[in-house]
């Protein structure tokens, strides 16, 4: 491979691109010119045994699938926990073993699992690993071995997390935000081993994730193939790239707060612990600040929202463009919106703390920054729907999930404006309005994208199509069901029902909501069970699905242009692809087909009136 690199390189090295385009070469050579590669190709370790091929595998695609399956497993645990919570809320006393302790443990584990171990791992570990090398035209991640270790660290983190279900006292019930002092005091379930294992597991997750994250960033920056300029990258890659950069900057805050709380717990330091009276005794803590933890937590926690959302933004842009057969509208604005949202996301964290007792003057600053972030976010929404305008929309399962994403995301984004505006947040914070908001915007909306993405890329990963018929049933159950869980739930928040209440007793303004609580519980059970359609579809399609062939969606981006389907280790066979254009050349006037792949040189589509390359 390295010989080939040298051969390609030498004749072109002497001339810069400017002199080339003006030089006297033949026209076709001229317009097809792509700058030579700047770094040599990497050599890959090809596994030979079952263990090196499928277990300790260094192929990013396999690692992606490993991440995906592990994350889905934790997600199913999280889903079951949510059922148990909903049963308690809708039908108190129906399930006798759900005590208050258990309820709070379910709340905590559900939240932490879904946000960190499911969504983050799935988007970045799962889709990131599978798609980054393929979409930028690399053979693999730049550090395949570290990438493999990254997954196994994640795997150990999941094991430690799951182990906490089986230790004395059970998992922590501190709420997913783990606010001290209660998280490590005996009034909270699992305040001994449970919280310790949670903190260890999170620390392992961050360490493992840092290994993966550095890989994603460096691969995108350094290992793109010839012609793949940053402004020709699919938005999926922009989303994953920016999200990973956020993760690299935000996760350290989580790591240090985990370490500090572990020290408070194990060694009796007082980072987050002021003087505390418990059961008539003054504890040996003193001088620490619980609000400090909240700042650290949300300095991680808010970017974390965008760590989940930005890959979803990117992926949905690509799915919409491919299935609407039209270029994504305002690509450059989409890129800058992703980067801008990412940067701004570090300046909004305290909007989670408007009623935390922090200096009240912070409210002005954080309300302003939070609403500023609404502008680039709204622009992204406009661009998605403008992309649909005068397009040629395939109404398939993938597109349905994209549309479901738009509806739930707009809904959740607008309730976000309620909560970001400090005066509006005061009555609504810590009520069911908040629960409804964040489930809509960072639960359902990203899930819609994940499911759409599975329907979209399943043919690439397995070589077979998923069943469209089952897919549509799956979509309508999931979308309509989830929407009817969370849309009415906002109104519980208006009544003033506080979150994290095991039971409401007979509060006068709450008993009126009993019917709604029962309805939501039933809907949650239906949505959960309807995922069996999805699982059934995946399992059966692996065997009997229609063979996909190459590029079944007629997409433009590189992952569909591999010599083998599914792509093999090393992705590209003998020769790396060369990129001549952005991935959104659909229905270009003058072109024969309704799509022009990224590798198509201009000389082959000489009549196409391409505006943006």
């Amino acid at each position: 491979m390295s010989d080939e690199y040298n051969q390609q390189n030498t004749p072109l090295e002497a001339q810069s691109s400017e002199t080339m385009s003006g030089s006297s070469g033949t026209p076709s050579k001229d317009i097809d010119y792509v700058r030579p590669a700047e770094i040599p190709e990497q050599d890959l370790y090809h596994g030979h045994s079952f263990i090196t091929k499928w277990v300790f595998c260094q192929d990013a695609k396999v690692i992606g699938i490993q991440y995906f399956l592990t994350a889905v497993f934790t997600g199913i645990v999280g889903l079951i926990l949510s059922w148990l919570m909903r049963l308690q809320l809708g039908y108190p006393d129906l399930v006798p073993f759900i005590t208050a302790e258990h309820y709070y443990q379910f709340v905590t584990m559900h939240g932490m699992i879904m946000v960190v171990y499911f969504l983050t791992a799935l988007f970045l570990g799962g889709f990131g690993n599978y798609l980054i090398p393929l979409m930028v035209g690399a053979r693999d991640m730049v550090f395949p071995y570290v990438n493999m270790v990254s997954f196994w660290m994640f795997f150990i983190a999941v094991c430690v997390l799951m182990a906490s279900f089986f230790v004395p006292g059970g998992p922590t019930g501190a709420g997913w935000t783990l606010y001290p002092p209660q998280a490590i005091l005996p009034g909270t379930p699992g305040s001994n081993m449970g919280i310790t294992l949670m903190l260890i597991s999170l620390s392992l997750f961050v360490i493992g994730f840092t290994m993966g994250g550095l890989n994603y960033i460096i691969t995108i920056l350094q290992a793109r193939t010839r012609g793949m300029t940053l402004m020709r990258m699919p938005l999926t890659i922009w989303g994953i790239f920016t999200a990973t950069a956020l993760a690299m900057l935000a996760f350290p805050a989580l790591l240090v707060s985990c370490i500090m709380m572990t020290l408070d717990k194990m060694l009796g330091t007082s980072f987050f612990m002021p003087a505390i009276l418990q059961a008539g005794e003054v504890l040996s803590y003193g001088g620490g600040s619980p609000v400090l933890f909240q700042h650290l937590f949300w300095f991680f926690g808010h970017p974390e929202v965008y760590i989940v959302a930005l890959p979803a933004f990117g992926i949905v842009s690509d799915l919409i463009s491919v299935h609407a057969r039209k270029n994504i509208f305002g690509y450059r604005m989409m890129v800058w919106a992703i980067v801008g949202i990412g940067a701004l996301s570090f300046f909004v964290w305290a909007h989670h703390m408007y009623v935390s007792g922090m200096n009240p003057w912070f409210g002005f600053f954080f309300a302003t920054t939070t609403l500023i972030i609404a502008v680039p976010t709204a622009l992204k929404v406009y661009n998605w729907i403008i992309t649909l305008f005068r397009a040629n929309i395939r109404m398939n399962t993938v597109m349905l999930f994209c549309l479901g994403f738009i509806v739930t995301f707009v809904n959740g984004g607008i309730t976000g404006i309620f909560l970001g505006n400090v005066a509006v947040d005061i009555p609504l914070s810590d009520t069911y309005f908040v629960i409804a908001h964040f489930h809509m915007v960072m639960g359902i909306a990203p899930l819609m994208v994940i499911m759409g993405a599975v329907y979209h890329w399943f043919p690439l990963v397995t070589g077979r199509m998923l069943s469209e018929k089952l897919g549509k049933w799956h979509f309508w159950f999931t979308f309509l069901g989830a929407y009817s869980i969370y849309f009415p739930m906002h109104y519980l928040g208006f009544i003033g029902v506080p979150r994290r209440y095991y039971e409401m007793y007979d509060s006068p303004y709450v008993t009126s909501a009993t019917g709604m609580n029962e309805f939501i519980t039933v809907a949650a059970l239906i949505v959960g069970f309807s995922q069996l359609i999805f699982i059934y579809n995946i399992v059966t399609s692996l065997k009997i699905g229609k063979p996909a062939g190459k590029n079944p969606w007629k997409a433009n981006s590189l992952e569909w242009l591999t010599p083998d389907v599914p792509p093999t280790h090393g992705n590209w066979g003998e020769k790396l692809p060369v990129v001549h254009r952005w991935p959104y050349d659909f229905n270009v006037p003058g072109a024969k087909e309704d799509y022009i792949t990224q590798t198509t040189p201009p000389s082959e589509v000489i009549n196409a009136e391409v505006e943006k390359t």
Binding site: S289, K326, V375, F389, V407, I426, E611
Partner: protein, 280 residues
């Protein structure tokens, strides 16, 4: 059925649900009607955007469903349109933010005539302290709390002597008089929240936080703890009774001050020592 019709149904259903919902605000009982107004404003602007965006989406999918050979617009960018949308969104955001910040400014600036009430929270209950005739609460510390001194008031602080101590979870308030709630926690985070008053703030151990409101409707209100505080969180309720000036005065008169409590305790101690001596 075309999926566009179902999406349309979802949007129409959402709007109808909003109009006919039986679940809405508990009747407001404080001065913070402005918060409700900002929420309604957000509903109008935000709801309008939601409806417009979704209807446009539905229009597109109904109108431009896949047809072989359909002519598709090829227009990667449209700077004018992007500019208009940016400006319109910015204007909308300012229209929401500006009133919100004005209300918030009122929220954090307590009127001078506000009565002070210290709310003491612990796992899992509440107690209250009111300043006595001097109008100033004595300083207090968690470390000083004992059976004799349930609020941990500094004994050297003369301001603390006349503080009125309410070792009960029922708080009485005067109607139409601003109240500044000073929040203290003895152990973990809590939050003193009455939905009808709209206002809330966390109580944090080691710090005194505050908020204010003016109750303006006579009645009894349930207090809910609104910050997760351990396994008893959901049971951490209390009661606020808003009453007329006269009733309030009668109630205050019945309450014990810190010096009265000390005197009573010393009396008790004296008695026990006397009895002990008699036994000898």
């Amino acid at each position: 059925m075309h999926p566009g019709i179902i999406f349309l149904g979802v949007i129409v259903g959402s709007v109808l649900f909003h109009i006919y919902t039986p679940w809405w605000w508990t009747d407001i009982a404080s001065n913070w009607g402005a918060m409700d107004d900002t929420i309604n404003l957000t509903f109008w602007i935000g709801g309008g955007v939601f409806i417009l965006v979704c209807l446009f989406m539905v229009y597109c999918i109904l109108k431009f469903s896949y047809k072989e050979g359909r002519k598709v617009e090829y227009k990667p960018e449209d700077h004018k349109l992007e500019k208009i949308l940016t400006i319109a969104t910015t204007v909308g955001v300012i229209a929401l933010l500006a009133p919100g910040l004005i209300v918030y400014n009122n929220y954090i600036n307590t009127p001078k005539n506000a009565l002070q009430v210290e709310v003491n929270a612990w796992q899992w209950g509440w107690q209250y302290r009111l300043p006595g005739e001097d109008g100033i609460l004595g300083t207090a510390q968690v470390e000083k709390i004992s059976d004799d001194n349930p609020f941990g008031i500094n004994l050297d602080d003369p301001n603390g002597k006349d503080d009125i101590l309410i070792q009960d979870d029922v708080l009485h308030l005067k109607t139409d008089r601003p109240v500044k709630i000073l929040l203290r926690s003895l152990d973990v985070l809590h939050n003193y929240y009455v939905p009808q008053f709209r206002a809330k703030m966390d109580a944090i151990p080691g710090i005194i936080s505050y908020y204010w409101f003016e109750p303006n409707k006579i009645g009894e209100y349930e207090v809910l703890c609104a910050e997760y505080c351990g396994v008893g969180h959901y049971a951490m309720r209390a009661k606020v009774i808003v009453e007329s000036e006269g009733n309030y005065k009668n109630w205050i008169k019945e309450q014990e001050t810190f010096s009265e409590l000390i005197a009573k305790q010393e009396n008790d101690k004296l008695k026990t020592t006397l009895f002990a001596k008699n036994d000898d």
